[in-house]
């Protein structure tokens, strides 16, 4: 469904390449966890895939169409984005809109869905994440976990083929992480295709079907989750898993 090949990206001024030839492959129904230490380029990769950043070079194949990631024109970007959704680390709900409008806006204004139908779909999505009773509230009055669930509702209401998650639990207080992860787990079980940058090892291990482990702008190892955690192939992966799992035991 989605394939990216040889993505390169460097930022002006930093003088260092953040992505140095990254490739990955996502099939329909896959839940892919992108893991790696901070600074490894995971988030940049996700942002390049959704064109929030322009890759310096790279090829994307999405829905059978091939795109030059450096040169995709804006109208094509918008067409691709309408088939995908993005969940941000800091939620980025529209602060001046109610919870309901946060979910309907992408439908009514972005996809020309009639208002009534949009609201029905939005309420369905909000019920799915357990936020229906907050439909009239504004994001500022919600907890981080609630905001992230609304942002997931915003993502699924658009009925995308693929949802990107950029460290969806990293900004949350520890006691709020569970509610977001359980919503994501349900989505995964329902067969949603997901590409998730995360530090949550439990999620990567038990929910995701494949893992992409990145370090310093390259993919060090990728493959089925189970194999990655049970029998990592590289020394770097082993060290990473050890360090993360070690932290977990302490916590």
């Amino acid at each position: 469904m989605l394939q990216v090949k040889d993505v390169y990206k460097s930022f002006e001024g930093k003088g260092q390449e953040v992505l140095r030839g990254v490739s990955l492959h996502v099939n329909k129904g896959d839940v892919t966890a992108i893991l790696g230490p901070s600074g490894s380029g995971k988030t940049t990769l996700l942002r390049c895939i959704n064109f929030l950043e322009r890759a310096d070079s790279g090829t994307m194949i999405f829905d059978g169409q091939t795109y030059d990631m450096h040169r995709v024109p804006k109208d094509q970007i918008r067409r691709i984005r309408k088939k995908t959704a993005f969940v941000f680390q800091n939620y980025n709900l529209f602060l001046n809109q109610t919870v309901l409008n946060n979910v309907t806006l992408g439908l009514t204004s972005g996809r020309k869905v009639p208002r009534e139908e949009a609201e029905t779909r939005a309420m369905q999505a909000l019920r799915r994440v357990g936020m229906a009773e907050k439909a009239a509230a504004y994001p500022g009055s919600l907890s981080g976990g609630q905001q992230q669930r609304v942002s997931i509702a915003r993502a699924i209401a658009a009925e995308p083929e693929l949802i990107y998650f950029d460290e969806p639990t990293s900004a949350l207080d520890p006691e709020l992480i569970g509610e977001v992860l359980s919503v994501m787990r349900e989505l995964a079980q329902d067969g949603m295709t997901m590409l998730v940058v995360t530090h949550e090892m439990e999620f990567a291990r038990h929910v995701s079907s494949q893992v992409v482990f990145m370090e310093q702008g390259v993919v060090v190892e990728s493959g089925p989750s189970e194999a990655f955690f049970e029998a990592p192939k590289t020394e770097r992966s082993r060290a990473f898993i050890r360090s993360i799992l070690g932290q977990h035991e302490i916590r």
Partner: protein, 223 residues
Amino acid sequence: MSERLIRILSDALPQLLEKFVTMTIPLTVLSFLLALVISVAVAMIQYADVKGLRLLCRGYIWIIRCTPLLVQLYLVFYGLPSLGIVLDAFPTAVLVFGVNEGAYMAETMRGALEAVPAGQMEAGYCAGLSYWSIMGHVVLPQAFRTAFPGLSNSLISMVKGTSLASVITVTEMFRQAVVINGRVYESLALYTEVALIYLVFCSLLTLLQRWGEKKLNVYGGVR
């Protein structure tokens, strides 16, 4: 207070109020609307970083903010006719006040636009919205709330600033006071009366601002 003074002031009051309602307020409203249109456009051009136009906007703000309003009024009203451009006093005042305040308000608006978190725009794009729909539904409403106190400043400042139009023969309230004073020679009392009218009206605007801020505050704190 002598009876004569009371009579002078009470005779002057309706004349002053008439000019206030028929000249000062329309002059303020029209100039402010012009300034609002200019400022939003100029701020949005800079926000979107439209090459070329951006530089033009910076040049406009630079020149307007760094020359006196009084000189701008004189230039347009007394200077431009020698180039064959002759405008009536009232349109000149609207034009100059609007263009002048527009430069200050453009900076207020730009600051407010830049204060909207970048993630709002990104979230809009990712939700499949177009640039204009994100601006209309998300970014501009948030920026407007941030800009509101600054824009209120500009409006209140403009009410009083219209008294400068008296120097290019617009008979607004202050010029009317000057005319009356030419007959009765009671500068202290008359100009105090004028000042009080400005004070009362601007106090009302201050209350209006507070009410407006509450209205705009429905969605809680900006994070």
